[in-house]
């Protein structure tokens, strides 16, 4: 079995080479930021203070929590209606939401800027949240509809026989059963919102106190062009929350991106 053995070695080599390619920039960034191998956290502290990351992380958290909460609630409701109820216009509505998955932020960001400004919502956190809720709801409706369609019909029928209203059926029976699907949606929405840059750049254009973490990092970069350890520490701060959640919930990330993509 020499050919089998050669092939196995070849296969491992390929996988290891590309794993190193994927990891190297991330590890190198972390090593710069933490002054490895000595492990000196002072640059980290400097970046945190000079970059005002305490404030920016808090803003990012507020935006992410707000977007996730509202979008999840609305997506569960609309997905429930489109997945289990039969009413006039349901199909058209489904395609309308589906179209939202194909609208790039780059296409809407300029008109959004003028719309939000005319509503005095520019440089406000709600102004930054609402467009992201709209994007998340397009995905969430599509995602939750698929889940509600997969629920056995008998479960809903049984609830109705017991006299449960459609509202009670949703929250007492279907939502608890659908926790894994909902968690996947929450994780993806949270990641997209946390990482969003263009909308933050355009909508939070003058109020420094409202910058999100990615936006803060871009200005931090502008101020410290070539102070690489400091910049790498900033990058690490901004990326860390999502990466940490990913390490624990990687199945949800990958499964969500996969089935989300393949069902389209």
């Amino acid at each position: 079995m020499t050919s089998g053995r050669t092939e196995r070695i070849f296969n491992y080599t390929v996988l290891i080479v590309f794993s190193v390619f994927a990891l190297f920039p991330l590890v190198a960034v972390a090593a710069q930021a933490l002054h490895l191998p000595d492990l000196d956290l002072s640059t980290f502290g400097d970046a945190w203070r000079q970059g005002h990351f305490g404030t920016y992380m808090r803003n990012s958290l507020a935006v992410a929590v707000g977007v996730v909460l509202v979008a999840t609630l609305l997506s569960i409701m609309s997905g429930y209606a489109l997945g289990t109820m039969d009413f006039r216009g349901a199909d058209a509505l489904f395609y309308l939401f589906l179209a939202g998955l194909m609208i790039p932020s780059e296409t809407v960001v300029v008109p959004l800027y003028f719309d939000l400004r005319s509503m005095n919502l520019d440089n406000t956190l709600p102004g930054l949240m609402l467009p992201q809720i709209a994007q998340s709801v397009a995905f969430g409706t599509f995602w939750m509809r698929a889940y509600f369609r997969s629920v056995p019909r008998s479960l809903i029928e049984a609830a109705r026989m017991d006299g449960a209203s459609s509202w009670a059926t949703l929250w007492r029976i279907l939502v608890p059963v659908g926790r894994p699907a909902i968690l996947t949606m929450v994780v993806l929405t949270a990641m997209w919102t946390w990482n969003e840059f263009l909308l933050a750049l355009v909508i939070i254009n003058s109020d420094e106190g409202l910058r999100t973490a990615p936006l803060g990092l871009s200005f931090f970069q502008g101020q410290h062009q070539t102070d690489y350890p400091l910049l790498m520490a900033g990058a690490l701060i901004v990326a860390a929350p999502v990466v940490i959640v990913y390490v624990f919930l990687q199945r949800h990330f990958i499964a969500g991106m996969l089935s989300g993509a393949l069902k389209e």
């Binding site: 092939e7 296969n11 390929v14 996988l15 590309f18 390619f21 994927a22 920039p25 190198a28 960034v29 609305l74 997506s75 409701m77 609309s78 209606a81 109820m85 039969d86 009413f87 216009g89 939202g100 194909m102 790039p104 780059e106 296409t107 809407v108 960001v109 008109p111 959004l112 003028f114 719309d115 467009p131 809720i133 709209a134 994007q135 709801v137 397009a138 029928e157 109705r160 459609s166 946390w194 990482n195 840059f197 750049l201 990615p214 936006l215 990092l217 871009s218 690489y228 910049l231 690490l236 901004v238 990326a239 999502v242 990466v243 990330f253 990958i254 996969l258 993509a261 393949l262 389209e264």
Partner: protein
């Protein structure tokens, strides 16, 4: 899509609209309306301050004739090679390596290679800017090679007229490999083992096995991966804005960057909106076109 009437007489009906209404209102106000509004603005010459003048399709014509903008779309095309073609090819090699023999630590490899997908693009950009910088690891390695007697290939990659675009593109390759790999790996698991056994009985080597069994079975996954990565290439803004700002000169200008640039730096809002609409149309065309081409579905 066929519509089946699944409900009994007591089925809730119009109440469905009530459940959808809140989602619909926000979706319509903050995504659909801006889309229409953007298309409307694209028909005007407008600096964003005063009143605009009717332009008809002049902004779209300009997008095709202005050399800088034509260049931007051309750069997007180059980026498609780096964002879509390269990652899909590499992912095929990876998946072949994962599927032909039993691999220990498959989950580990998958998790690691997917990681670039979840890191904020802003952090990716800042990190890679250092990787490419004057004294960064890439130049360090090339100077090491120079020390071994090779020519000195080190340079400021992101400031180089020839190499800035490929350098940015390679970051895209780095980001998108994981997505394509994960999609293909999921598809390979669904291929019946018997097909491989039959191919082996016929004496097929790894290469023939790949072209006869794996590739045809992965058409759907290939179509999805190619579509998603191509759209990512078209929409590339964060990376360009943070690493090169379109420079040096116009060497890395891309459509998404021009949407921002023309709105906030040169006051050509109508033109910016026209470019935005063109990005959406291209993304849609890619979705439909790749599906047809690769899967043969109508």
């Amino acid at each position: 899509m066929t519509r089946t009437r699944r409900g009994g007489p007591g089925e809730p009906r119009r109440i469905g609209w009530l459940y959808i209404l809140p989602a619909l209102v926000i979706y319509a106000a903050f995504l659909l309306w801006p889309l229409l509004h953007g298309a409307w603005i694209s028909l005007f010459h407008w600096d964003g301050l005063g009143t605009g003048t009717w332009a008809g399709l002049a902004n779209y014509r300009q997008a095709f004739t202005d050399p800088v903008l034509r260049g931007a779309f051309l750069h997007a095309l180059v980026l498609v090679i780096f964002y879509a073609v390269l990652p899909c090819c590499i992912a095929f090699v990876l998946v072949a390596a994962m599927s032909r023999t039993k691999i220990r630590g498959l989950t580990f490899f998958r998790t690691v290679m997917f990681l670039p997908q979840v890191v904020a693009m802003v952090a990716v950009a800042v990190g890679w800017q250092w990787v490419y910088s004057e004294n960064g690891p890439v130049n360090g390695f090339l100077r090491f090679l120079h020390g071994l007697g090779l020519p000195d290939w080190s340079r400021g990659w992101l400031g180089d007229f020839t190499f800035a675009l490929p350098a940015v593109g390679l970051v895209g390759t780095w980001v998108e490999i994981g997505l394509a790999m994960v999609l293909f790996a999921a598809g390979v698991q669904k291929i019946p083992r018997e097909l491989y056994e039959a191919a082996r009985v016929d004496g097929a080597g790894p290469l023939r096995e790949f072209f006869a069994v794996t590739l045809p079975a992965l058409r759907r996954e290939l179509s999805v991966a190619f579509t998603l990565t191509t759209i990512a290439a078209l929409r590339n803004f964060d990376l360009i804005y943070l690493t090169t700002s379109g420079g040096p000169g116009d060497a890395t200008k891309v459509p998404a960057y021009e949407v921002y640039n023309r709105t906030f730096n040169t006051g050509e809002v109508g033109l910016a909106c026209a470019i935005g609409v063109m990005i959406a149309v291209l993304a849609f065309a890619v979705t439909v076109g790749v599906g047809r081409l690769v899967e043969g579905r109508s």
